[in-house]
Subunit: 497 residues, 2 copies
């Protein structure tokens, strides 16, 4: 059995190494590749992706997985690795190669069309591609099968173990609670001076502040990097090579600083995976939602904490004396945490953010249950936006066309953003109970115990547990929306009073 | 036949794509990879290299090559592609996989030992590894076979079509002519003010000057980059993605500027290969020697030309007024072209450079004919250094241990450096005859006709012709050392008078 398991491990590690080489090339494409080199890069990426696929569907891998699945000699960790690979292979085996090719081709065209549509603020340019993508995804669902409702098959790709019905229940509570908090905030009549974040902040000094701060949080630059790209992201090729990117705006401090804190949370997760599990599911993040919980945890619960800014604001003031000498730490912290509903999801405050996500989840789900017509989509988007956030987008570019996720085949992905908030909030509650003087540590800039707690409780487990199970195991409580709602209520009733 | 050729082309292109992905990962390792990420990168590189090898030795590739080799329906270009791949496969097929593994392992250990030996200036630390590498290379030569003498098998890897005996004949002439020129220079009693290159030159302004200048030479930054690394190099993943690196020394202007001109020559060759031939031998550089000829051409014959500095020195003076305001263009140009024999090959002037190479060639050849004992190597090195350059290195670090080529399995590679000089000189003579007002173009900074001439005559042919054949075809003359010797005599009798 040991020999079989070793062979299994070597084979899946090979697939992972190919995927990680692919990721290096993709990172390079987004950061340093010369502007006119994209054609050759496309060919390299296509080959690596084909090779990874070929190694995945090799009959010997399936044989090994089938034999090992029936073994009783495996450790619980080994069994979990086999279980996760089996799930992946079973699903992959059901999808026809023709459909994968068709999906990839359509995605490329859909992304181009989405770009044009967004520029022209014209949904009709994108509509036929969205229709085709939904048809192809319906075919994919037919091939893979599903439990409960078709949409579950998509959700499972990003957040295994949670059904659309469960998401609906959680979101139903948020749809009650979040608007309540928003109304309280609006009724308070209080408004922060948000102009303090929109002054002139020279980019090199922003970068120096970010590097210093995320290193102190625990992002290890000896096994990680920070670069620039058009859209911030985190990628990782191994626990010893995690890379963040951000983009800078000299006239908006939040753009780079906020995004970097967020990406650093992702990066610390990747750096916290166990090296010995590299290549195996237990060496991979639990889910997209749990990944998001780590970025939210650091961006929102640590680096938006008033104590955090009491520690860091003096440094920021020293770095930007022209912009910040007339600003108090309380003013700054209030501006940093301002709540102001907007049409746009990216950069939304933490009270309205999940409402953006809920809207998208509902539309996606309706598209797959056939409850909605493609031509009605922009109108329904706008109605929901009015209902949840009290706003109507001026055009489709600021409405239905604002995200490229659908065009990029990330259908069923949006819910993970909101689940990430809820996981993070429940983890925060547990951390406050389990880590002595949690808030004091943040206020003193002593992040090591917090990072270690996340390393121990989340990172090192990889895919051992499903998301909800992991959160419940750590907190010792059923997973609910309440930690998140309580956090928001407490925080914002204090700020807006 | 068309179908067979297409299949052949697709298969060799796949190999090239894997090799180019490997090169991206290697470039990243030398430029941006975090300091402690090397272990994971080693695994990715090993896998890509194994996959490229597996695709190369697939029986179907050999079948296709054998069938196509016998076809009379191929165009001359297609036939050349098949011919070159056949040579590669024939050699690869003869070398046992065990030997390749043994060579790679020994190389890793040898590089480590070389590093330690160089630090300690102790040849004995490196000696056992060098012995083992030579034994393994002798085994390799036994497996591949050879014509004439064993060393030819190694030389053929880097400079196909030239034998050790031919190299010896060429070098014999250089061993007479170069010392003669050196003696004339020393006898002149003239010395340039070399201090003008060793003043303070802020690195960011050096970089701006380099970027502007190599772009004007013709290096295309829309399909290329310049970054920093410990040792300057050029790599390329496709004609539309060629990357240079350099290193900066704020107190030595030559370090970065000279190396960048050199690497830009390599880079323009890579950018000049035909995109349509990517993946095929006709889409690859003719040889290491011809590659070097392109870097030498730009670094020495264009960018060390007095006319070049008459054009660029005013800009340099404007960029570095503190360092250069009291320097005349003639003084600067003389300093740039100073001849001053030194123990060290890297950075040697163009008169003494080839003598460094000849010394290494002679030692390598003697190691393989058994005319030399390993324990005597440092002493023979020093004797030859005294004989050719009139210097004795103070220790082994500045003598036999200065280069890591042998440790890195680049045995038989050194001669290509000197051949590159000679090819370049003969090409320069041809360019002066064939390009109207060659010197005037350089003096006016109009490099496009020169670059186009190199594109047309050299770059676009890839591996269509062997090195010597290519140079003779372009110049219409037999390949000799005379263009190089004449160039040096004319140039330095004028400078040192």
């Amino acid at each position: 059995m040991t020999t079989l398991y070793s062979e299994f491990q070597n084979r899946v590690k090979k697939i992972k190494l190919l995927e990680s080489a692919y990721s290096v090339l993709q990172w390079d494409m987004e950061t340093y590749m010369p502007p006119n080199s994209d054609k050759s890069r496309g060919e390299q990426l296509a080959l690596l992706s084909t090779l990874a696929h070929e190694h995945t569907v090799e009959p010997r891998v399936r044989e090994l997985v089938n034999q090992l699945s029936q073994s009783s000699e495996l450790t619980p960790e080994q069994a979990a690795n086999v279980r996760e690979i089996k799930i992946k292979l079973d699903k992959a085996a059901k999808i026809s190669p023709e459909l994968i090719i068709d999906l990839n081709k359509t995605m490329v065209d859909a992304l181009t069309a989405w770009n044009q549509a967004k520029k022209a603020a014209d949904y009709n340019i994108f509509k036929p591609y969205l229709e085709k993508l939904v048809i192809l995804h319906k075919r994919r669902i037919e091939q893979t099968g599903y439990e409960g409702e078709p949409y579950n098959s998509l959700l499972e790709d990003y957040e295994p173990g949670i059904t659309a019905a469960e998401v609906e229940t959680l979101f139903a509570q948020l749809k009650v609670e979040l608007p309540k908090i928003l109304r309280q905030i609006q009724a308070s009549g209080v408004k922060p001076r948000t102009d303090v974040l929109l002054r002139h902040f020279p980019v090199d000094r922003q970068e120096a502040f970010i590097r210093e701060t995320i290193a102190e949080m625990g992002f290890d630059f000896s096994i990680g990097r920070l670069d620039r790209s058009a859209h911030p992201f985190c990628t990782s090729f191994h626990p010893t090579d995690a890379r963040l990117t951000t983009r800078f705006d000299a006239n908006n401090l939040r753009t780079a600083v906020g995004a970097s804190f967020h990406e650093a949370g992702h990066g610390m997760y990747e750096q916290g995976l166990l090296i010995g599990n590299f290549g195996l599911p237990l060496g991979e993040a639990a889910s997209y939602g749990i990944h998001e919980s780590q970025s939210i945890f650091w961006e929102r619960f640590v680096a938006s904490h008033p104590g955090f800014w009491r520690h860091y604001f003096p440094r920021l003031q020293a770095a930007f004396p022209e912009a910040l000498s007339d600003v108090s730490v309380d003013e700054f912290c209030f501006a940093w945490n301002r709540v102001e509903p907007d049409f746009i999801r990216v950069g939304a405050d933490e009270v309205s953010y999940c409402l953006h996500v809920i809207l998208r989840f509902e539309l996606e789900r309706d598209l797959f249950s056939g409850n909605i017509r493609f031509e009605d989509l922009p109108e329904i988007w706008n109605q929901k936006m009015q209902e949840y956030l009290g706003l109507t987008p001026p055009d489709a570019a600021k409405g239905i066309l604002q995200d490229n996720h659908w065009a990029g085949c990330l259908i069923g992905y949006f819910p993970t953003y909101a689940l990430g908030y809820m996981y993070a909030a429940q983890l925060r509650e547990a951390a406050q109970e389990q880590i002595p003087d949690f808030d004091g540590l943040i206020e003193r800039g002593q992040f090591a115990p917090i990072k270690q707690w996340l390393n121990q409780n989340i990172h090192r487990h990889g895919k051992m547990y499903k998301s909800k199970q992991l959160v419940e195991r750590i907190s010792g409580k059923p997973f609910t929306v309440m930690p998140f709602v309580n956090y928001l209520q407490e925080k914002y009733s204090r700020l807006y009073k």
